[in-house]
Amino acid sequence: MTGRIWWRIDWRGAAVPIGFLVIAQLAALNGDLQSDNLAAPSDVAVACWHAIIDGTLFRRTLETLASALGGLALGGSIGLFSGILFGLFQTVDRLMNVTVEAVRPIPSAAVIPVFLLIFGFGFPMEVLIVAFSVTWTMLILTRAAVAGIETRLLEVSRALGFGFGARVYKIILPAALPRIFVAFRLTVAIALIVAVTVEVAANPQGLGYTIMLAEQTLRPDLMFAVLAWIGLIGWALNAVLLWTQRRLFGMAAIDEPAP
């Protein structure tokens, strides 16, 4: 099985990053690199190894992921609940239209000082900013998913005399689940981005702060190590969720362009 996958991988895609690393390493060795903003790939690898050994990298990763996932749980469930409500009842959707469209465009970075003022540094402020940013995407994609349900399914549920709860659990959630999962995957990415942004801009914790600190203490090796680590986490989260999505839903969960 693995042997078959081995030769199927298109190695041309790997040529560019590997070539880049080799050239960077050779250039660093030749030029006897002494720099505040560049580091040889080997030094970056060493810095990454040290950060893993002394536990800082994992501790910082946990802080970032805790904020991102906490905010995702809070904002995601608010968005999911209102999205189902808006999708089912057009009246609610139309009545809330101006309110949603007025609050939604506020950039997530703009609310950083608001929550900073109320909560100070720490987890609550970061979790709430992530929640604020995630809510709207979740709401809109869930609303679209619920509104896109085959109307005959809803007629069937009515004919069967389902109550509201049974209708949501037995018809709406299963029918909308593939697209809600796509929304979940997109919001996971947003949650990570916002968490790192809050840490870079203000909050002294997590990976965003670590990379900021590495820059300020003139440690380009550590800076690039954490940068690569953040990239790896973002890539891995997306890859795992994409795999799950294909595995669970197949063609039912084709990506919709973001609204």
Binding site: D10, R12, G13, A14, A15, V16, P17, D36, N37, R94, L95, M96, N97, V98, T99, E101, A102, V103, P105, I106, P107, S108, A109, A110, V111, I112, P113, V114, L116, L117, I118, A189, L192, I193, V196, T197, V200, A201, A202, L207, G208, I211, M212, A214, E215, P220, M223, F224, V226, L227, I230, G231, G234, W235, L237, N238, P257, A258
Partner: protein, 254 residues
């Protein structure tokens, strides 16, 4: 039809007004300390006062300009490089995996790297915006070019079109919907990164305005800035949406 649309718009406007009244009540009853939550009256007064008597208008203009410059830079780069990669299957095979791997990297993680190279400067903010807003447009262009109906390329070959003509007359129009969707996401990212950049570099702009207002406990100034930033987000998204509909009016609507 349009009569009922106006009705629903007015009704939802009334709901929004209801929320503002509720906000005013919560602030007046001091359910939340006025140090954190100014009423809409105080936020509005701070907004008007800031625009007329202080430099809030200048802050607004510099944030908008920064957002637009960075976004234009990212769009130009993204579409040009995306077209070069997208038109050639060989270039796609070599470069696309790398690009897809860099894409999920949170753009704000680039900020420290950019600071290391450019210092806390205007150029640093522009570089970050350009890098962060680049990806949606770059990848939309590459994928849009890859998804062009193969027969169109055959037609182009039969007509003896040059590579530039193929890009301009066939691939670009066909990839346009993807590219425009990417540009819309890119604009949102550009605004966020402009605000963060201003916060970190203390250059003139709304990001710096809201951060300083928050730090010195001027909650009404803070809310005025947040309202303005929301307005910038709303207006830019609406304008781009209108441009998108205009540019894609030739498409068969479904």
């Amino acid at each position: 039809m349009s009569g009922s649309r106006i009705f629903w718009f007015l009704a939802s406007l009334a709901v929004a007004a209801g929320f503002i009244v509720l906000w005013q009540y919560v602030a007046d009853a001091r359910l939340i300390s006025p140090a954190f939550l100014p009423g809409p009256n105080r936020a509005w007064a701070a907004l008007v006062d800031g625009m007329i008597h202080r430099d809030l208008t200048d802050q607004l203009i510099s944030t908008v300009m920064r957002m637009i410059y960075g976004w234009l830079l990212a769009s130009t780069l993204g579409i040009a490089v995306g077209a070069l990669i997208g038109i050639s299957p060989t270039a796609r095979a070599y470069l696309l995996p790398t690009l897809e791997m860099i894409r999920p990297l949170p753009a704000s993680a680039i900020i420290p790297v950019s600071i290391a190279f450019f210092g806390l400067s205007e150029r640093m903010v522009l570089a970050v915006i350009a890098f962060g807003a680049l990806w949606p447009m770059l990848l939309a262009t590459v994928h849009g070019f890859a998804a062009v109906e193969p027969r169109l390329y055959e037609v182009a070959r039969a007509l003896g079109l040059s590579r530039w003509d193929v890009i301009r007359k066939i691939a670009l129009p066909s990839a346009m919907p993807d590219i425009l969707a990417g540009m819309r996401i890119g604009l949102t990212i550009a605004l966020i990164l402009a605000v963060v950049g201003e916060m970190l570099t203390s250059t003139e702009g709304l990001g710096q305005w809201v951060l300083f207002a928050g730090r010195s406990f001027r909650a009404s100034d803070l809310f005025a800035g947040v309202i303005l930033l929301g307005a910038v987000g709303y207006v830019s998204a609406t304008l781009l949406g209108a441009a998108e509909r205009y540019l894609l009016r030739w498409r068969i609507s479904h």
